[in-house]
C-alpha cells in the first residue's frame, strides 16, 4: 500500500466547531456529592469532557484531575474548579450536572439541552 505519508497527500480538512463560552450548573445534590468527594481539598478539578462513541455518538466523561494537557475552559461553580475541554464546549454549554441516588443506574447525571437524543443508560447522547 502506498500510504502517502512520505509524499504530499493532504490531510482532509476536519471541521472544528467554534468554541463557545460554557455555562454550566451543579444541582444541590451534585454539589453535596462533590463536597464529599473533594473534602476540603480544592486543588483538584472536575473535568467534564466528551468522548466519541456510545450508542448515540458521544459519551460524557467525568474525571477528578489535578491538571490536564487538554486545552480547557476553567469555571468556578459553587466553589469547585470545573474544566471543560474547548473542543467539546459546543456540546456542553448549558448542561446541568445532577446526582441521582439509586441502587441501579445511580450516580452523576447530565441534563444536556444540546442533546437531541440519548441512550437508555444516559451516558451517551447526540
Amino acid at each position: 500500500m502506498d500510504c502517502g505519508t512520505c509524499e504530499s497527500a493532504t490531510p482532509l480538512e476536519v471541521h472544528r466547531p467554534d468554541e463557545v463560552d460554557v455555562e454550566l450548573t451543579l444541582t444541590e445534590k451534585a454539589t453535596t456529592m462533590l463536597e464529599d468527594a473533594f473534602g476540603d481539598d480544592r486543588s483538584h478539578a472536575l473535568l467534564v469532557g466528551v468522548l466519541s462513541g456510545g450508542c448515540s455518538g458521544y459519551m460524557y466523561d467525568l474525571q477528578i484531575v489535578e491538571s490536564t494537557d487538554t486545552p480547557c475552559q476553567e469555571l468556578n461553580i459553587n466553589g469547585f474548579r470545573v474544566l471543560v475541554p474547548s473542543a467539546s464546549s459546543h456540546l456542553l454549554n448549558g448542561i446541568e450536572i445532577d446526582y441521582v441516588d439509586r441502587l441501579m443506574g445511580g450516580g452523576f447525571k447530565i441534563n444536556n439541552p444540546n442533546a437531541s437524543s440519548s441512550c437508555g443508560c444516559g451516558e451517551s447522547f447526540s
Partner: protein
C-alpha cells in the same frame, strides 16, 4: 477464480488511540485488522469498511460512494483528539481475490469479509481478471452482500447479510441499541436470501438465481 476490482476509498488515520476510536463507532470489535460496519444512530449503514493497521497508522478501506459521508461521520467525532484523516484513495488500487490469485507487488494483503483483499500502489497498474458479472455470480452462490446492491443506507447490517460483522458482546457504539434490541427480540425485519429466477425486486440479478432482501415478520 479471479480478482475483482473494489471501487474503494481509503482513509488513512494518524494519531493516538485509533483502534479504540474506531471501535466506539462501529459494529465489530476493532482491536486489529477486521471488517466492520459504521452505522447511524438508527443503525442504518454508512459504510462497510476494512480496518487495516499500517505501522502506527490505520487505513480504513470503504467504498468510494460513501467516502464523504464516512469522512464527515468520523471527523465530527474527533473532538479534541489528535487524529488526522488523509484521503489516499488515489494512490492505491484495491482488489478482492476469489481463489488464489498472484499477490501483486508491494500489495498489502488483508483478510476481508468479502474475500482476500489486495491494496496495491497505483503505479503498478494492476488489473482485475474478473468482471463484475462474475463477481456477482460468486456473491449469489455464497450469499455475500455488496455495496450498492444489498449494502445501502436504507438497510441495517442484520437485514443484508452482515450479521457476522455485528459483534454480539462488545460495548456501546453508534447504532448499538437498535441492533441489540432487534437481536434480543428476534425481530430484524428483513433478511438477505438467494432465490431462483424470476425474482421480484432482486438486489443482485444472476443468470439463474438472484439475491434479494425479504421481509421476515
Amino acid at each position: 477464480m479471479g480478482l475483482v476490482r473494489h471501487e474503494a476509498s481509503i482513509l488513512l488515520l494518524q494519531g493516538k488511540g485509533l483502534l479504540a476510536f474506531l471501535d466506539g463507532l462501529s459494529t465489530n470489535h476493532v482491536d486489529g485488522p477486521c471488517t466492520t460496519v459504521f452505522t447511524t444512530r438508527a443503525a442504518k449503514i454508512i459504510d462497510v469498511c476494512d480496518i487495516v493497521p499500517v505501522g502506527e497508522h490505520v487505513a480504513i478501506v470503504g467504498h468510494a460512494m460513501n467516502k464523504n459521508v464516512l469522512a464527515a461521520h468520523l471527523a465530527e467525532r474527533i473532538l479534541g483528539q489528535s487524529i488526522t484523516i488523509t484521503d489516499i484513495s488515489d494512490l492505491n488500487d484495491v482488489f478482492i481475490d476469489v481463489g488464489d490469485s498472484e499477490i501483486p507487488p508491494d500489495a498489502t494483503v488483508h483478510d476481508s469479509f468479502f474475500g482476500k483483499m489486495f491494496i496495491v500502489p497505483i503505479k503498478h497498474n494492476w488489473q482485475a481478471t474478473w468482471a463484475m458479472e462474475q463477481w456477482n455470480e460468486h456473491r449469489i452462490t455464497n450469499l455475500i452482500p455488496y455495496h450498492g446492491h444489498e449494502i445501502t443506507d436504507s438497510h441495517h447490517p442484520l437485514a443484508c447479510g452482515l450479521e457476522p460483522l455485528v459483534h454480539p458482546q462488545k460495548g456501546c457504539y453508534v447504532g448499538q441499541e437498535v441492533l441489540t434490541r432487534m437481536r434480543s427480540r428476534g425481530k430484524q425485519g428483513h433478511q438477505l436470501v438467494v432465490r431462483p429466477n424470476p425474482v421480484e425486486k432482486p438486489t443482485t440479478q444472476g443468470k439463474e438465481r438472484s439475491l434479494c432482501i425479504v421481509r421476515t415478520q
